[in-house]
Symmetry: C2
Subunit: 249 residues, 2 copies
C-alpha cells in the first residue's frame, strides 16, 4: 500500500519549523494533479502562514491549538469564480450559479485536498483536516474576502509532527462495503461491526472521562450534537446561497 496511505494518522501537535517554500509548492502541485471535472479545476487553495491570519483562523476553528501551532494552514474552496470570469471574457455565458455546480466544485476541492494531504505525509509532514470549515464558512468568507462563486469546503493544518500517535482503529471492511447492492444492517451485524471498538480500552477511558453509558452517546450528546448540527446546517446553506450557488430555477 502507498506508505502515506498506510501510515496516515491525524497530527495535532507540531514543531515550530516552517514548511520550506519548495516543498509547499510540491504539495500544491500534487493537489493540482488530482482528477477534476472536465479539467475545469473549480477549486482554489488559500495559504495561511502569517501569525496574524493564523490567529484569526484559530478563532474561527473553535480555538483548536493545532491551528496556532501548525506553521501552514491550507483552506480549500469550491471555486467557480475564476472559471466563470474566464467564460465571461470569452463570449461564453457561465451557468454555474446552481447547486449542481456547487457539488462539482466541492468534489474537485476534496480530491485536491487529499492529494495534498498524502503528498505532505509522503514528505514527513503531519496533517489534520478541520471539519469546522463548513461550520464557520461564513466567517472564513469574511476573513479571506471570498467573492461570489467561492465557498470554503475543508482545511488542512500541516507541519512537522511533534507527536506520533497510534494508528486509529477502523471498522471492519464489511461495515463499509456492499456487494452489488446495499445490504441494510441487522442488530446482530451492528453489534458485530462495533464490537472491537466498543470493547477497547480507549472506549472504556472515553466513557469514564465523558461520564456516559455508551460510546454512541459521546457522539450524539457531546461531539456531534443535533442542536449544533441544526445551527451549522442553516449557516452553511446560507453561505452557499449568499455565495451564489442556489439559483436553481
Amino acid at each position: 500500500m502507498i506508505e502515506a496511505i498506510q501510515n496516515h494518522r491525524s497530527i495535532r501537535k507540531f514543531k515550530p519549523d516552517a514548511v520550506e517554500e519548495g516543498l509547499l509548492y510540491e504539495l500544491l502541485r500534487a493537489g493540482t494533479r488530482a482528477s477534476t471535472t472536465g479539467n475545469m479545476q473549480v477549486y482554489s487553495i488559500i495559504v495561511s502562514q502569517q501569525a496574524e491570519m493564523k490567529k484569526k483562523l484559530w478563532e474561527i476553528h473553535f480555538r483548536q491549538n493545532m491551528v496556532l501551532e501548525a506553521p501552514l494552514i491550507l483552506t480549500f474552496n469550491a471555486d467557480f469564480n475564476r472559471f466563470s470570469k474566464w467564460c465571461e471574457l470569452r463570449k461564453a455565458i457561465p451557468g454555474y450559479d446552481n447547486f449542481l455546480s456547487f457539488t462539482t466544485a466541492f468534489i474537485d476541492a476534496l480530491l485536491a485536498s487529499q492529494n495534498v494531504a498524502l503528498e505532505a505525509e509522503n514528505n514527513g509532514l503531519g496533517i489534520c483536516y478541520l471539519g469546522t470549515t463548513t461550520y464557520n464558512a461564513d466567517k472564513i468568507c469574511d476573513l479571506f474576502h471570498l467573492p461570489k462563486g467561492v465557498v470554503p469546503v475543508t482545511t488542512l493544518v500541516i507541519g512537522y509532527p511533534a507527536e506520533i500517535p497510534e494508528l486509529t482503529d477502523r471498522l471492519p471492511l464489511e461495515a463499509i462495503v456492499h456487494q452489488e447492492t446495499y445490504h441494510d444492517y441487522s442488530q446482530e451485524q451492528i453489534d458485530k461491526i462495533y464490537a472491537d471498538r466498543e470493547n477497547s480500552e480507549l472506549t472504556r477511558q472515553l466513557l469514564k472521562i465523558n461520564n456516559k453509558e455508551t460510546l454512541a452517546q459521546i457522539f450524539t450528546e457531546s461531539r456531534y450534537a443535533k442542536k449544533d448540527n441544526l445551527v451549522f446546517s442553516k449557516k452553511y446553506l446560507e453561505v452557499i446561497e449568499k455565495q451564489g450557488f442556489m439559483n436553481n430555477d
Copy 2:
C-alpha cells in the same frame, strides 16, 4: 512526488481482465485509512462487478462505454445510515438528518475515494471518476435500494488500462493558489492563466470539432450547459431531501 499522484491520468478504455479479489480488498482498505470525521466513517462503498448491474449503471451514467468495459465499478455514498442505526441501538438519539451531516458524510466519502483511486493506480490499474453520479443520484438510489441516510456522491470505474493517454495539462499554480487572502482575477491575469491552454493544438482541434469560437463556449454551450445544471441541481437537492438530510429546523 508519490508516483500515483504524479502519473495520474483518467483511463476510459480497459482490458477485460478482472481486478483480483485480494487487490480489490487492498484498495478498499486503502479507502478506509483516509481521514474521517471523528472516526465515524460515514460513507459506504458499493462494489459492482456483475454484467447485469454494470449494464444498469451504464444506462444511469449516460451510456459511457467505460462503464461497460471496466471490470470494477465502485459507488461511494455519503452514509449516516449505519452510524445512526448504531446510535439507536445504544441508547443514543442520532441527530444526523440535516444538511451539515450530509456535507460531513460527503467529505468522508470523497477522501476515501481518492485513497482508493491512488492505491488502484499504484497497482497498475487505471481509474476514472464519474461526475454523472450526482446527476442521476435518484436512479442510483433506486438501483441499489439505498435507505434513508445514504446519498451517492461519486463513482470510480477501475480496471487494467487499454490506453495510456498523455498527462492532461493543468493551469499554472498561480491560478489556484492565493497567499494569505483571496486575490480576485483581473482580465490580464485570466488571459495569462489560460494562455497556454487556449493556444494549444488540442484546443485548436476542439474548436474545429465543436464548431465554436472559444474554448469556454464548449463548456457553457455543450459540456456543462446551464439548462442541464438546473435540471440536475433540482434532482440532487430532491435526493438529499428524500434521503433524509434536509431536516434543518
